[in-house]
Amino acid sequence: MSTRQIQYREALNEAMSEEMERDDRVFLMGEEVAYYNGAYKVSQGMLERFGPRRVVDSPISETGFAGLGVGAAMYGLRPIIEFMSWSFCLVAADQIINNAPKMLYMSGGQFPIPCVFRGNNGAGGQLGSTHSWAVESMFSSVPGLKMAIPATPRDAKGLLKTAIRDDDPVFFLESERMLGLGARGGKDFSRYLQNNWAPPTVEEDDDFLIPFGQADIKKQGTDCTIVALGRPVHFALEAAEALEAEGISCEVIDPRTVRPLDIDSIIKSVRKTNYCVVVDQSWPFASVGSEIACQIYERAMDDLDNKVIRVHNDDVPAPYARALEQEMLPNARKIAEAVRQVTYNA
């Protein structure tokens, strides 16, 4: 395995840059993506490399520039539209969940929308209620879009390259709290991984694509399946590590994309472990977590030795105060408790 060190944000940058080299129709637009080099430095250096035609600063007009992306995609371009945060996509909701995912259908197949919407999702750290959206549960119910939620630099690169080449609109959910991931050694769970944290360089593989709809077993285990997506994958790994010490072997499975959802791999894991905890960084009601749990019951009820436990945000708006926010979000402690609770009868 390569020992490459690369941050999540750099992986995103690599994916975009490689695809922009490859295809002139790809461009990046968003607030502060160009001259500022990205509010979170994801697009660092891209203006210099590709020029202002292809790396475009937009005013604070999410409806305007998200819609611009859809229109440009109708014309044949392949826009990457950056939301500084998915929390700011709500002012553009109509453009992204009406126009983007329904255009192909409404036009009888005439107008594909090969557009990627991407940005930070989930609590950024004490930003308060309106700035701490995790939009996966709200938007994954919309047919016509695809949704990816990468948890490692490797997945970030591989999935984003796939997203950019995909002919359908892709909602790409990153996380402010993961952008620096890969920079430090401390919380590196790569010992569990089949693949490294890091993606290959363009020299190593100039066509590194991770297909949508393929779950990744982030850690193998035998006693309980933990399904997690995005940032919570790391909480799950941390919980799994703690539980290992207690003699509970967890399998951490990361669907990586929600639409399509690789339910088969999840079911396979549950059939093996007979226990399952589902972790979801959004709110409990009508969520990705309830959907996954529900599908597990539907497909594998006889294989379950207990009910599925779901770990979500608490069902309250995100508070500012640090302790409260910590308590409200899913974390390793909650996941470990859920696993202990669900495997109690094992």
């Binding site: 292809r54 305007g64 819609g67 229109g71 440009a72 109708m74 009406n98 126009n99 036009s107």
Partner: protein, 413 residues
């Protein structure tokens, strides 16, 4: 745009139009009128469902503006979209079939009246959320500039859309990047039952909306197809090749975006079920007296460009094509229920399947030709007049379990 002294000197672009150009414009307006009459009739017969908004009275806006454009200049509009599609050259058969929900429809029956699309004719829809098409239009213009094309995008909107944030964000983006786009508000005075003066500040001087974005403004008589043509021809020609330094083009070129108010009027209700208590019969009559089709007809007759017989023939042809469209739509196959899961994704997964392209995409060469005279490929003969057509009542197909109220039938839409 022209100084008081310059007005006379400058040739109006429409003065260069040939007799056949002019007759073509008349024919296209007549086609829209007759087609819409058939649409109304078919809606009454419940062959058409959902919401349906007629373009009758506004024909000069679509025909005047679109005639002034190049065939590959992208256009986009709201839900009152039949006129734009026909003006652009969409085969009326596909248009009618769409509303009948047939597989031969321009969108295979998946879009309906409010969502006409015609990629071969660079018609980017038919959009039903008020104002929602404006950012899309900006996207088209951005793509034109990005690809260094010599085109101009035209984005139509109703006066009601002036009050939507999407319109304003779109105007600003177009302005700062000098995108080649003409925003056209088809000011028919009403959004549903609300007179523009009740809903829009500065309704009496919409030029102020353009000034707010530093954009040139033109008010054109949208009941006069030649005035409309002139307005768009000048603006579009000046705009071609628009570029913007801020987007990395060497220098600013072309005139950048513009805003047009086309003053017009719809003779019919907002949709098919509008009691129209908000306006007087007199008001409607007054506007009907300035009918764009009648005006152009008289103009052509007065100038000797067309004879009374030619005019009659053009109208007969419009009726014939419209009737043929109904016949075609009636006889076409329903869209198969297996198409429910197609066209959701280009790269499908799970339950989804690849879709067949609509007919309109397959014969795009043919239909590019027919852009000259849409729908002439039909060989049906005879004037349809007030004939009621076949009335197989599709309502009777309605499964009982979805019919507990019938509310959708009798409401304003």
């Amino acid at each position: 745009m022209t100084t008081a002294t310059g007005v006379k000197a400058e040739l109006r672009p429409s003065e260069s139009l040939s007799a056949s150009d002019l007759k073509g414009m008349l024919a296209r307006m007549m086609l829209i009128r007759r087609f819409e009459e058939r649409t109304a009739q078919s809606y009454q017969q419940a062959k058409i469902g959902g919401f349906c908004h007629l373009y009758i009275g506004q024909e000069a806006v679509a025909v005047g503006s679109i005639t002034a454009l190049k065939g590959d200049d992208p256009i986009i509009t709201a839900y009152r979209d039949h006129g734009h599609a026909l003006a652009r050259g969409m085969d009326p058969r596909y248009a009618m079939a769409e509303m009948f929900g047939k597989a031969t429809g321009c969108a295979k029956g998946k879009g309906g009246s409010m969502h006409f699309f015609d990629k071969p004719h660079h018609m980017y829809g038919g959009h039903a959320i008020v104002g929602g098409q404006c950012p899309l239009g900006v996207g088209l213009a951005f793509a034109i500039q990005y690809e260094k094309k010599d085109n101009v995008a035209v984005c139509y909107l109703g006066d009601g859309a002036l009050n939507q944030g999407a319109f304003h964000e779109a105007m600003n983006l177009a302005a700062i990047w000098r995108l080649p786009i003409i925003f056209v508000v088809e000011n028919n005075m009403y959004s549903m039952g609300t007179h523009i003066a009740r809903g829009t500040s500065m309704a009496e001087d919409l030029g102020k909306k353009a000034e707010a974005y530093g954009m040139p403004f033109e008010r054109c008589d949208g009941k006069d197809v030649l005035a409309t043509y002139d307005c768009f021809k000048r603006l579009a020609d000046a705009m071609r090749g628009s570029t913007c330094k801020a987007l990395g083009f060497d220098e600013d070129q072309g005139s950048g975006p513009a805003f047009v108010e086309a003053v017009t009027y719809r003779y019919k209700g907002h949709s098919m079920s509008d009691p129209q208590k908000y306006r007087s019969r007199d008001e409607v009559s007054e506007w009907e007296e300035r009918d764009p089709i009648t005006s152009l007809t008289n103009y052509l007759l007065e100038r000797g460009t067309a004879t009374q017989e030619e005019i009659k023939e053009l109208d007969a042809n419009a009726k014939k094509i419209s009737l043929e469209a109904v016949k075609y739509a009636t006889e076409s196959e329903d869209l198969g229920v297996d198409e429910l899961f197609t066209d959701v994704y280009v790269n499908p997964f799970g339950p989804y399947k690849k879709g067949q392209p609509p007919l309109l995409m397959l014969d795009s060469d043919e239909s590019d030709e027919s852009a000259e005279e849409p729908g002439e490929s039909g060989d049906e003969s005879g004037d349809a007049g007030d004939e009621q057509g076949d009335t197989d009542d599709e309502q009777s197909d309605e499964p009982a379990d979805n019919d507990e109220s019938g509310a959708a039938d009798d409401e304003a839409k």
